[in-house]
Subunit: 341 residues, 2 copies
Amino acid sequence: MASPARNPEIRKDAVTSRWVIFSPARARRPSDFKAKTSTNSNQNQECPFCVGHEHECAPEIFRVPPDSTSDWTIRVIENLYPALSRDLEPTLLQNPNPESDCGDLVLSGFGFHDVVIESPFHPVHLYDLSAEGVGDVILAYKKRIEQLALHQSIKYIQVFKNHGASAGASMSHSHSQIMAVPIIPPMVSTRLNSMKEYFEQTGKCSLCEIRSKDLLIDESTHFISIVPFAATFPFEIWIIPRDHSSHFHEIDSEKALDLGGLLKLMLRKISLQLNNPPFNFMIHTSPLQLSNSQLSYTHWYLQIIPQLTTVAGFEIGTGCYINPVLPEDAAKVLREVKVPM
Amino acid sequence: MASPARNPEIRKDAVTSRWVIFSPARARRPSDFKAKTSTNSNQNQECPFCVGHEHECAPEIFRVPPDSTSDWTIRVIENLYPALSRDLEPTLLQNPNPESDCGDLVLSGFGFHDVVIESPFHPVHLYDLSAEGVGDVILAYKKRIEQLALHQSIKYIQVFKNHGASAGASMSHSHSQIMAVPIIPPMVSTRLNSMKEYFEQTGKCSLCEIRSKDLLIDESTHFISIVPFAATFPFEIWIIPRDHSSHFHEIDSEKALDLGGLLKLMLRKISLQLNNPPFNFMIHTSPLQLSNSQLSYTHWYLQIIPQLTTVAGFEIGTGCYINPVLPEDAAKVLREVKVPM
């Protein structure tokens, strides 16, 4: 192996403008890399996320309730195999290929990569918790984001959940992840530009304007859930706050409880309707530092993607997606799913 | 099902600026959509791509050699389940949600979606063909692109190959696909902007400048193969023409044969080194209509992606990728793979 203790790096090339995080510490030796074969996810008896196995995990950041012992309900811990390192200086590195000065960029791999264990018990999934329980997980995201936002070099914080091995979950115990990065990711920049353009044309926030009945699935006091007009994936769902809000971490306890109920309902609906599919959800918030004008047109939302189709050459090559289900059809199906209480 | 005979549409929303192709004709009924389960790919005896089963396919566009009967080596046919329809008018449709004028766009789903059957025989993969055979497949792409480019409404043509079910191949018989679309896809625009910016700063084409020895895998008379500096995926490979060329379909017979040899070598190397992984390749060419200045900084290349990792919530949410293998390590491994002749 060429560089066994190599630090992570963040690179961007002058052709595709994509940022890529290189985390060699997560890798097997490059020469050992083989095609993945289907393996069973780890079993209960050896799961470090289960209550009683806390000592097998990377350091804890906080737990809920704060003073609990073995009666904790949520733990926020460091990722044992972080893609980024909290111990590096956030600096621009020299181009390692000085013979070809071709506009490539390298940053040190500074950043944070944390894990939120959503329950002490292995068989309990996020959607098995009560609305209050899901709301507490949402408040744990908020608390950790407020801590991470104190770091001046952190530009963006991504909360996401991978459920099921084929959606990228390496642990079957219910958990989500928080990554804090020293760049504004490309998709976030694109979203900001797009929302800015709409605001300049109309004077309005594009997400405040979404009110199509055809696309509505459900609504709660403070949120609506829809299938987006140009859903990238079949049965993709967006949960959008009714009130204009740029940053997810502005959420208060009342709204977190309300969101907990609607998120649980959406996850139960896709589980019932789509045969318990693997899924991802992502909280799309705004970069931490925003101008006053950016605050007027940025609006956070939560995106849920059931993994039902395969992303292939056309999508990878073009960034265009092929979705076999029209959003209004998907919304109708999801609207009508009956969830036993 | 809400719209059994609904035409495909291409949509873009005002939030993410992503173009999505909706092709309801490809779908099962939305209410029947379930999580995918692993299914075996179709077997030889029922494969419509095999010689002798030509009548089970959608219409043929041309074959190689042109006057062959059952001794054809390559067939270019229409896709039986096209994501886009060649029979629609290329028009901007009305916003179907007039109550919410929120900057969403809908185009009719006009376009072409063709299939290139690379061999008459089921067990023969592209990399099993001779360099001349792979070169002939490349010349078939060129010929079909030249036909499609005659349509004024076609803005971009994407050639891609999905190999293996988890890379998106629904047929196991070796084939590739050509999609001609009436928009410039977002990733192509981003690439053009990025290459333009480099050209404005340096007066040079960013792909002509790539000459790093650390990243080089192999080279031929007219092409080099490298692991790109910010490879998005482990063991990603780019094959780049040495001479500046904006459009893939400018390739001539001599260069197609040369590319055939290098492409075969790269596919054999990943098959040997990475345990015959599923893979995708994409030919990244330029939009059909280019200005003279755009011709100076655009340069086509072929990208090969072995499917070894899972794209999950972080990547979907941010457009940033996590790659556990440093490009210079991957290049060294691939450089040293011994391929039996």
